[in-house]
């Protein structure tokens, strides 16, 4: 579905991506992992065209690197950024309406997954809780027929119960649309991901089945370092939030 080859990008003067190569499967969830600051978010932004980059990115066979972001999104690439980025001054309904790209958007699916969005339609999005904002952020993607979703740290900063809800929603969405997921919470990754790609020092350090990576505690520790939550706690797959979460210093 998405093939990234030799992706290179700079932020300020630092060469943050130095030739990243990986592929995203046409179904299920591919997790993009790595330590803090290694460039996971930058990879997503480079794919989207928000960051100038060299290399090649193919989306469903078409080369897309360098295309303006809005055109790429119209071609079916949905994006949920870190920190959600819902529009605080707009109401929930307006946030959803803004995202509609097709003449009949799929409100049924969205409201069935997130009934609260219907009840809170007129509420200003800035007054929503983190979890509710995440619902808006994911919901607005589902209104349109997307072919691939890029989701950046959806559970960051959320309470454990909400993390479970969000994870469940993403699991359900993943049955219909492939997802490239950036996550620090390994329990969430364990629950959702089929494939995993690990970034280190600007390149891909490991690619393969997520289960293989997470089952090997030594490899997990060496690639992802201390501070990745869910490490070696053996947390049950349906209670990912029960492990203690280290604060994200960004």
């Amino acid at each position: 579905m998405l093939a990234v080859r030799d992706l290179s990008a700079w932020i300020g003067g630092s060469h943050i991506l130095q030739g990243v190569t990986f592929a995203v499967a046409g179904t299920g969830v591919t997790a993009l992992l790595g330590r803090n600051g290694v460039g996971k978010t930058s990879t997503l932004r480079a794919i989207l065209g928000e960051l100038p980059a060299t290399g090649s990115v193919t989306f469903d066979g078409e080369p897309v690197l360098g295309r303006p972001t809005h055109r790429l999104v119209r071609a079916g690439l949905g994006y949920v950024p870190e920190d959600r980025c819902v529009f605080a001054g707009l109401s929930v309904a307006e946030n959803l309406r803004l995202a509609c790209r097709v003449p009949d958007p799929d409100y049924d699916t969205v409201y069935s997954l997130f009934p609260e969005l219907r009840t809170r339609a007129r509420q200003r999005a800035g007054t929503l809780s983190g979890g509710q904002q995440q619902m808006v952020a994911i919901g607005r993607l589902l209104l349109n027929p997307n072919r691939l979703l890029l989701i950046d740290e959806p559970t960051k900063g959320l309470a454990p119960r909400v993390v479970a809800e969000v994870t469940a929603v993403i699991a359900e969405v993943a049955q219909r649309v492939p997802i490239l997921l950036v996550e620090q919470n390994l329990a969430v990754v364990r629950r959702l991901a089929g494939t995993a790609v690990v970034l280190a020092a600007g390149r891909v350090a490991w690619q393969g089945e997520a289960a293989d990576l997470l089952g090997d505690a030594d490899r997990t520790r060496s690639l992802l370092g201390v501070g990745s939550t869910g490490l070696g706690r053996g947390a049950a797959s349906d209670a990912p939030g029960q492990t203690d979460r280290k604060k994200d210093h960004r």
Partner: protein
């Protein structure tokens, strides 16, 4: 006076500017006549006055570039300090009867002090808000000079300097050459100061500030304090320039405090090449020359025969300068200095028959290289 390539012998780089200054210093003794460019031979008072003005603005543009090109601060109120210098020395000499040797440092220091005061407020903001605050402060200055408080500033007509209070060698048409040398001295002082600042560790901090403030803050340095010192220094240099201007022109006028003047300085810095060694100097000289001469260009034979619709705009110097400026922003973002550097890099590449993209990128003027990279993605 074009930008020397960075690989050229260091000796050449050190000697060339001195040679130019030497030539400029002996210029008034030549009787060379360049028709069209100047109205009279090089040693005539009219030409010397024009050249002196060009040199003053070369210095003023360089002082402004310290803020804009090197520290990345877009100030729209720079003219205020210029006016303080000009009006300061004028008022002290003409009204308060101070001797010139006392009035000059007083006016310059006064300008610097005002810059420190206003800068301490303005620098608490950044970007557009900073630009607006500096513009607003300058507007106040402009209003004050026009209202003529206490009869000091002479209101809309300006304040001519009382020649009888000045030392003899600065007064009178025959002494225009002394004013020329004064302007040249001012330009040399400004260039030396700015280059000194640029070379030293202080200059590196400024460059860091321009690119990313957090990098500087992380080092434990206070960006605010650095910016304030730069702002004060730049204001002081502007005030000094105002003093020299007032001497060259023979007085001060409210146009000095207008926002248009700061915009002109901005145009000079950008046309010449912001952040470069000689760019603002060239920009200042060229702009002033064109501004003064283009009005008379409208009366020359060539333009008179153009159809009316072309003749009108072309006889307005600001139209030509504004249009050239816009073209420069598109096609020559590094200014003349950037063009010179690109030309030198091209010549080098042709000579060695090797194209080295890293070197070409490194040689580009600040802003030009980075924007070339980001400009590549169409969006």
């Amino acid at each position: 006076m074009s930008q020397s390539p960075s690989r050229a012998a260091p000796a050449f780089r050190a000697v060339a500017p001195l040679a130019v200054v030497a030539v400029a210093a002996v210029l008034p003794w030549s009787t060379v006549d360049i028709p069209g460019v100047f109205d009279g031979p090089l040693n005539s008072p009219g030409t010397l006055q024009l050249l002196a003005l060009c040199l003053v603005f070369g210095g003023l543009a360089t002082g402004y570039d310290l803020l804009f090109g090197r520290a990345g601060l877009l100030s729209f109120g720079h003219a205020l300090y210029l006016a303080v210098g000009a009006y300061g020395v004028d008022i002290l000499v003409t009204h308060a009867h101070w001797p010139l040797w006392a009035a000059v440092p007083a006016a310059a220091v006064g300008g610097a002090a005002l810059a420190a005061l206003l800068g301490s407020v303005a620098l608490r903001t950044t970007g557009i808000a900073f630009a607006m605050v500096t513009l607003a402060f300058a507007q106040v200055g402009s209003i004050l000079t026009q209202r003529d408080p206490g009869g000091l500033t002479g209101g809309e007509e300006g304040l001519p300097m009382d020649g009888s209070r000045l030392p003899g060698f600065l007064v009178g048409v025959a002494n225009t050459v002394n004013l020329y040398w004064l302007a040249l001295a001012f330009l040399v002082v400004v260039v030396v100061v700015v280059h000194r600042v640029d070379r030293g560790p202080y200059g590196r901090v400024l460059a860091g500030l321009r690119d990313d403030e957090r990098r500087v803050a992380v080092l434990g340095l206070s960006p605010y304090r650095f910016k304030l010192v730069t702002f004060t220094l730049s204001g002081g240099l502007a005030a000094l320039g105002g003093v020299v201007y007032a001497l060259v022109v023979g007085g001060a006028s409210p146009a000095l405090a207008a926002s248009d003047l700061t915009l002109s300085l901005l145009v000079m810095a950008v046309l010449g090449g912001p952040g470069t060694r000689w760019g603002p100097v060239i920009g200042g000289i060229l702009y002033t020359y064109l501004d003064q001469r283009l009005t008379s260009l409208g009366g020359t034979g060539a333009v008179r025969h153009l159809p009316g619709v072309l003749r009108g705009p072309l006889s307005q110097p600001l139209f030509v300068l504004g249009a050239v400026f816009i073209l420069a922003v598109y096609f020559a973002p590094g200014g003349l200095a950037g063009l010179g550097r690109r030309g030198a890099a091209l010549a080098r590449a042709l000579r060695t028959r090797r194209s080295d993209p890293a070197r070409a990128g490194a040689g580009a003027a600040p802003g030009a290289g980075a924007t070339a990279a980001t400009g590549a993605t169409e969006n």
